[in-house]
Symmetry: C2
Subunit: 330 residues, 2 copies
C-alpha cells in the first residue's frame, strides 16, 4: 500500500448479540463514520456479511475507496485471534465455528483480524485510552457479563489457544451461587455482573422481608442493576449493602488477579462501572486486604477513558494498526 499512514483508515466492527456497530477510524483514533446493522436478524452468516458489506461500502467509497483501508478489525463474543474464528458463541445465532475474519477479509478484499470483545476493548484502551503507555494492565468489563482483557509486557495475553482472559469465570466462592449460563458455582460473573447485582438485591430483599428498602417498590423480576443503583444513590441502606457485598467479592477476585500478573492498573469498562464509588470503594478495600504487602497500595483502579459508544469500535479498529502479516487475515 502506497497511501501514507496518515491517510489510511481502519474499519472497526463490534459484533454484539443484538446489533453490530462499525466505524472508519484513522490512526489517531478519530471515528469519521458511524453505522450499525442488526446482528440477530440474519439467519445465516453469509446474509449478515452481505448486509454489513452493503452498509460499510458507501463510507469506504466516500473516504477514498478500498485503497485507503488498511484493514478490518473485529471484536466478537468468543472470538479467537489465532484462528480468526467465532467459536460456539452463546449469544449469536450462527452456531459452531465460523471463520469470520477470512470471510470478511475475502468479501472486502483487505486483511481482517478478529478477537473477543473484551480483548478488543483492552487494545483500544492501550492505543487510545486510559492505558496509553502502560505495559501491564487488566481491563475488566462489568456489563451484563464480566469480561476481561489482559496485557502483560505490552502484549495481549491470548494463551496457547487464543482463549486466555476469561476472568469472569474464575471461581471466587467455591460452591457459591449458580451461574445459569455455565453451570459453574461461585464464579465472579455470577456476582459482579449487572445480572449478579440484581440477583443479590433480590436475595437481600427476600432474606428479611422486615428490612425496609426503596427497592421494595419493584417486583422481583423488575429489579435490575439500574434500580439498585438509583436506590443506593437515594441513600437506601439495603441497596448500598448490595454494592458492599459485590465489592467484597470483586475485590477478592482482583487481589488474585494482581498476584497473578501484577498490573500497573485495572481499568473498568461497561455499565456497572458507572456506579463509581458505590462499587469501587468496597472493591478497593477488599482487594487491598487480600494482597500480600509487596502489592499493596500500588495498583490503580481506574475507569475507561473511551466514550462507551465508541470504545468497542475503537478497540476493534486498533487491532488493524498492530496487524502483522502472519496474523489472522484472508
Amino acid at each position: 500500500m502506497t497511501v501514507p499512514i496518515s491517510q489510511q483508515y481502519a474499519i472497526g466492527i463490534d459484533i454484539g448479540g443484538t446489533n453490530t456497530k462499525f466505524g472508519l477510524v484513522n490512526h489517531r483514533g478519530d471515528i469519521s463514520y458511524h453505522g450499525s446493522i442488526s446482528t440477530h436478524r440474519h439467519e445465516t452468516i453469509e446474509a449478515f456479511i452481505e448486509d454489513l458489506f452493503q452498509a460499510i461500502m458507501p463510507a469506504i467509497e466516500e473516504s477514498g475507496g478500498i485503497g485507503v483501508i488498511r484493514g478490518i478489525g473485529i471484536g466478537a463474543p468468543n472470538g479467537n485471534i489465532y484462528k480468526g474464528t467465532i467459536e460456539y458463541a452463546p449469544n449469536l445465532k450462527w452456531k459452531g465455528i465460523i471463520p469470520l475474519a477470512s470471510m470478511i477479509g475475502a468479501k472486502f478484499g483487505v486483511q481482517a483480524r478478529l478477537t473477543n470483545d473484551a480483548n478488543a476493548a483492552a487494545v483500544g484502551e492501550m492505543t487510545y485510552g486510559a492505558a496509553k503507555g502502560m505495559r501491564d494492565f487488566i481491563m475488566i468489563t462489568l456489563g451484563t457479563g464480566v469480561g476481561s482483557g489482559i496485557v502483560a509486557n505490552g502484549q495481549l495475553i491470548y494463551g496457547h489457544d487464543g482463549f486466555a482472559g476469561e476472568l469472569g469465570h474464575n471461581i471466587i466462592i467455591p460452591d457459591g451461587r449458580l451461574h445459569p449460563g455455565t453451570g459453574e458455582h461461585g464464579s465472579l460473573e455470577a456476582y459482579a455482573s449487572a445480572t449478579g447485582v440484581a440477583r443479590t438485591a433480590v436475595e437481600f430483599l427476600e432474606r428479611d422481608p422486615s428490612v425496609p428498602s426503596l427497592m421494595r417498590a419493584y417486583a422481583s423480576d423488575e429489579i435490575d442493576s439500574r434500580i439498585v443503583y438509583e436506590c443506593a444513590m437515594k441513600g437506601d441502606q439495603l441497596a448500598m449493602e448490595v454494592y458492599e457485598f459485590t465489592g467484597r467479592i470483586l475485590g477478592l477476585a482482583l487481589a488474585n488477579f494482581v498476584m497473578f500478573s501484577s498490573p500497573e492498573a485495572i481499568i473498568f469498562f461497561g455499565g456497572m462501572s458507572k456506579a463509581g464509588d458505590l462499587i469501587m470503594k468496597p472493591t478497593r478495600e477488599h482487594m487491598e486486604k487480600h494482597l500480600l504487602p509487596i502489592f499493596q497500595n500500588k495498583v490503580k483502579l481506574i475507569f475507561s477513558e473511551l466514550k462507551e459508544a465508541d470504545a468497542a469500535i475503537l478497540g476493534a479498529s486498533a487491532l488493524v494498526w498492530e496487524m502483522r502479516p502472519a496474523e489472522n487475515s484472508l
Copy 2:
C-alpha cells in the same frame, strides 16, 4: 566479548535459606562444575559475597578465566528482576532491600541478573526442560511453599513491578485456613504446600479419632508430607483422602489460572510433586470440572524434566543466555 558462544559459560547461583548452590553452565545446559556454600552462616551480605567469590573463582580460572564467563544468573527468594534486588525476604538474614545483582556483578566484573527462584525455574524449564518450545505455560513449585513462574507469549510475566506470579497466595477458599506466614485465610499455599498437606493430615486425624490410619503411629508434630505420602502408598485410606482434599483445592486453583492465561501446560516441580498420581489425579479431575468447555481436555499437567538438584542452577544460569544489555546488571 570475542569468545564464541560455544565456549562461553554462565554462572548459575541458587540462593536458598540454608545453602547457596552454584554451577558453571554451558549454552546447552551442561553443568561443568558444582559447588555450594552456606547462606545462613553469613551475617552480612558482604561476607556472603566474599565467600561466594572465593568458592567460585577457582572454577572460573579452571574453565578459562573470567573472559569466558558470559554473565551470572541468580535465583533468590523475593528477587526482583527489574531492580536486581532481594526485597524483604523472610527466609534470609539480610533484611530490607539488597541490590544483590549489582553487588555480585561488581565483585566478579561481569553482568549479573537476578529473579525469584520460581521464575528462575520457569526459565530453566523453558530453556532446557519440559517447556522447551512452549510459549505459554505455568510452572508451579510444590515444596515447603507454593511458588510459580508464568510464561505467556514466550516471555516471563514480571508485572509492572517485577513481583508477578505469586500464585501460592491466591485466595482459593475465602475465610479458609490461616496461613501463619502471611496472615491471609484460604490461600493456595495454606493447603497445597508440604506444610499444608501435613496440616490437613493432622486435621483429618483429629476430626474423628475413631477412624483408623497408619498415620496414627506418629505424633501430630512429627507428621510431615513424607509420612502422609508413605502411608498413602501403603494404601492408608485417610492419607489418600488428604491427597484427594489437596487435589480438590489445587485443581480449583489451576482452573482459575488456566482461565487467566490459557497455558499449553502446567509444569510441576518440587518435593510434593513426587506424590505423582496421588495428587495429580484429583487435581486434574477438579481442574477440568471447573473449566469452561472451551478450556477442557487441553491443558497438560506435567512434571519438570530437570534433575531437582540441578534445576535451580540451570534456571538461574538460563537468565544469562537471554540477558539483554538494558536489564539488571552492574
